[in-house]
C-alpha cells in the first residue's frame, strides 16, 4: 500500500470511530478499565517488587570483594587498574594490609588507629570532608579521628615502626565502605617508608572492592576478575553477596511470575470483552462496509479500517485508565509504579485491544458485500 493511501485509510478509520460515539466510548472505557484493573492489582505488586529490588541492590548486592587474608597471594596494586578496565565495573578500590598509626607525642598511651594504603580512585561511597588525598598523606574517618582525640583531622602521625606520616584531612564513608570511618587511608608515598619499606616485593593489596554496574554483571565480573589479577600466588578469595543475589532472584522471579499471570488474566478478559464490543460495532456498520467494498475497498483495507478504529478509541481509554491506575497505586502504596511497568501495561492493553479487533475485522472483510447491499 502506498504511504498516502495508508494515511488516508488511517484518517478514515479515525472518522469511523468518531461516527460511532457510543461504541467508541464503550470500547475506550473497556480499555481504561483493563488498565485500571491491571495497575491497581499487579501494579501494586510491581511497585513493591521494585522497591524491594531497589533496596537489595542498594545494600550491596553488586559488590564483589577480592581478599588476601593470609598475605600469601601478594596481589599487586596494578590489579586495581586492570579490574577497572573490565566491562560492567562501576568503581574499584583496593586497600593494603592494615598497620597502626598513632600521635607521636602520645604514642605510648594513645590508642592506635588502623591505617591502610588505598589504590585506585575513591568511589562515591567515600566523601572527602577536608583536605585531599596525596602521596604519603592520609585521611581519617570520624571514628578514627575520635580515637586519636583530634578536634581537626590534621596532625603529624607515626606508624608502628616510628616512621612519620602526615594526616591531611578527613573522610566520611558509607555503604559497603563504611568500615573506613574507623581507619586512616593513605595514598602510597613515592618512596616506601616505615614497615612497608622493608616488605619484600614492595607494597601489596589486601582487599579490592569492585562495584558492578548492575546485579546482572556480578556473576560475569566475579568470573572475569581472576583473569586480570596480578598476584604472586592465586591464594586470594573472591566473594560475592550470594545470599542477597538469591533473595533478589526469588523476589524478581516469584513475585513477577504471580503478578504477570494475574496481569495476563485481566488482559485476556479485556481482550474477550473488547472483541465482543468491536464485533457489535462492526455489525452495526454492516452496510457501511458493504458500501466500501463496492467502492473498491479490498478486504485488507476493511481490516485496516477496523483496526485503526479500535486503536483510535483505545488510545484515549488507555491514557485515562493508566492515569487512574497510577493514582490508585500511589494512593495504596505511597509510591508510583515503575514507569517501565506502567508504559508496558499501556502498550499491552493497546496491543491486546487491537488483537481483539482482528476477528471482528476479518468478519467484516469477508462478509458478502452484495448480500449486504441487497438487504435494506
Amino acid at each position: 500500500m502506498p504511504l498516502r493511501y495508508l494515511a488516508d485509510l488511517t484518517a478514515e478509520g479515525v472518522k469511523i470511530a468518531r461516527s460511532q460515539p457510543m461504541a467508541s466510548i464503550v470500547a475506550g472505557l473497556m480499555a481504561a478499565g483493563v488498565c485500571v484493573a491491571v495497575l491497581s492489582t499487579t501494579g501494586q505488586t510491581a511497585t513493591t517488587e521494585h522497591q524491594v529490588l531497589a533496596g537489595l541492590d542498594a545494600v550491596g548486592s553488586r559488590v564483589i570483594v577480592v581478599s588476601d587474608d593470609t598475605g600469601e597471594a601478594r596481589i599487586r596494586p596494578g590489579s586495581v587498574t586492570s579490574i577497572a578496565r573490565l566491562s560492567g565495573v562501576r568503581s574499584v578500590v583496593g586497600f593494603g594490609p592494615a598497620f597502626d598509626m598513632t600521635l607521636p607525642a602520645f604514642s605510648r598511651s594513645a590508642a592506635p588507629v588502623p591505617a591502610r594504603y588505598v589504590y585506585g580512585a575513591l568511589p562515591r561511597q567515600v566523601d572527602v570532608t577536608l583536605g585531599a588525598l596525596a602521596p604519603g598523606r592520609g585521611l581519617v574517618g570520624p571514628r578514627g579521628q575520635q580515637r586519636l582525640g583530634l578536634i581537626q583531622p590534621a596532625a603529624g602521625l607515626e606508624d608502628d615502626q616510628g616512621a612519620p606520616w602526615v594526616l591531611a584531612g578527613g573522610l566520611k564513608a558509607s555503604g559497603y565502605l563504611r568500615f573506613l570511618n574507623h581507619t586512616i587511608i593513605v595514598r602510597p608515598p613515592l618512596e616506601p617508608r616505615g614497615r612497608l619499606a622493608s616488605t619484600a616485593g614492595g607494597d601489596s593489596v589486601a582487599s579490592i572492592y569492585v562495584l558492578a554496574d548492575s546485579v546482572g554483571d556480578v556473576d560475569a565480573l566475579a568470573a572475569g576478575v581472576p583473569h586480570v589479577i596480578q598476584a604472586a600466588a592465586p591464594k586470594y578469595n573472591i566473594s560475592k553477596p550470594a545470599a542477597l543475589l538469591r533473595a533478589r532472584k526469588v523476589v524478581a522471579s516469584g513475585l513477577a511470575t504471580s503478578s504477570r499471570r494475574l496481569m495476563l488474566l485481566v488482559l485476556a478478559a479485556g481482550l474477550i470483552l473488547q472483541s465482543v464490543t468491536m464485533l457489535g460495532a462492526v455489525s452495526q456498520r454492516r452496510r457501511d462496509f458493504g458500501r466500501r467494498r463496492a467502492l473498491g475497498a479490498s478486504r485488507s483495507a476493511v481490516v485496516w479500517l477496523v483496526l485503526i478504529q479500535t486503536a483510535a478509541v483505545t488510545v484515549p481509554g488507555v491514557l485515562l485508565g493508566s492515569a487512574i491506575g497510577i493514582g490508585i497505586v500511589r494512593y495504596l502504596t505511597g509510591a508510583y509504579p515503575p514507569p517501565s511497568f506502567a508504559a508496558g501495561v499501556a502498550l499491552l492493553a493497546l496491543l491486546f485491544a487491537v488483537a481483539a479487533a482482528v476477528p471482528p475485522a476479518v468478519t467484516a472483510a469477508f462478509r458478502d458485500p452484495v448480500r449486504i447491499l441487497r438487504v435494506p
Partner: protein
C-alpha cells in the same frame, strides 16, 4: 466503438452455483461511449449482472473480460483495486454514509482509488455544482431529499472519472424530474467515453440510441 467489457458465457447461481441459475451463458459486449440498458422482469439477474461486471461476484461459469483480459478470475485484492479505479457504482437507494456530509460521501468515492484528497475534493465541487447539490455539501444524507441523495450518489460514482458506470435502478425511487437529471448525467458520461450500464424496469426515459439488453 472499442470493446471494453465483455461477458463470455456468463453464468451465475447463488449458493455457489447450487441454486437455480440467475444468469445462464450470457454473451454480450459492452462498448465504451454508449449506454446499455439492462432490462427484464424481476429475478432475471439484472442486478446480478452488474455485480458480476463490477467484479463483486465471481461467475459460476464464463468470464468477464476487460479490455481483452479475463478479470473475473483475479484475486480479491486485484478485483477491488480495479473496481476502485475503473468502476463507479450507483445503487437504487443511494447507499450513502449517514454519519458523513454530502461532500465527504462524494470524496470517499475516490479514496480507494488512491486519488489525492485535494483533487478529489475539487472534482467533487465541480460535480456538486453540475448536479445542483453544491448548497447541500455540508448537509448529512438524512437532511437531503431522495432525488438529491441519488445525485450525491452519482457524484460519488463519477468523482474518480471511471471507465465503467454501473447503475442499479438509479431512478427507481425518484420523481420524473430527478430521474431526468440522473439519466442526463449517465448519457453525458457515455459521451465522455465511459461504458454505462443501467439496470432498470423504467424504459420511458431511455434514449433511442441506447443499447437494450433484455434478460
Amino acid at each position: 466503438m472499442p470493446k471494453v467489457v465483455e461477458a463470455h458465457g456468463l453464468s451465475f447461481g447463488y449458493g455457489g452455483g447450487a441454486g437455480p441459475k440467475v444468469l445462464d451463458g450470457l454473451d454480450y459486449t459492452f462498448t465504451s461511449g454508449a449506454v446499455t440498458v439492462v432490462t427484464g422482469p424481476s429475478g432475471r439477474g439484472k442486478s446480478t449482472l452488474l455485480y458480476l461486471l463490477g467484479l463483486m461476484l465471481r461467475p459460476t461459469a464464463g468470464q468477464v473480460v476487460w479490455r481483452g483480459e479475463q478479470v473475473s478470475e483475479w484475486s480479491d485484492g486485484d478485483r477491488s483495486s480495479w473496481r476502485a479505479r475503473e468502476v463507479g457504482f450507483v445503487f437504487q437507494d443511494a447507499v450513502l454514509d449517514p454519519s458523513r456530509s454530502v461532500l465527504e460521501n462524494i470524496v470517499e468515492g475516490a479514496l480507494y482509488a488512491g486519488l489525492p484528497r485535494r483533487s478529489a475534493t475539487a472534482r467533487a465541487g465541480e460535480l456538486m455544482e453540475r448536479f445542483g447539490v453544491q448548497t447541500r455539501s455540508a448537509a448529512k444524507p438524512r437532511q437531503v431529499s431522495g432525488g438529491q441523495a441519488q445525485r450525491v450518489a452519482l457524484c460519488r460514482a463519477l468523482v474518480k472519472q471511471p471507465a465503467v458506470v454501473l447503475a442499479d435502478e438509479p431512478t427507481g425511487n425518484l420523481d420524473e424530474g430527478s430521474a431526468a437529471v440522473v439519466w442526463q448525467a449517465l448519457y453525458e458520461e457515455a459521451k465522455r467515453g465511459a461504458t454505462v450500464l443501467v439496470a432498470t424496469h423504467h424504459l420511458e426515459q431511455v434514449n433511442a440510441d441506447a443499447a437494450v439488453l433484455e434478460l
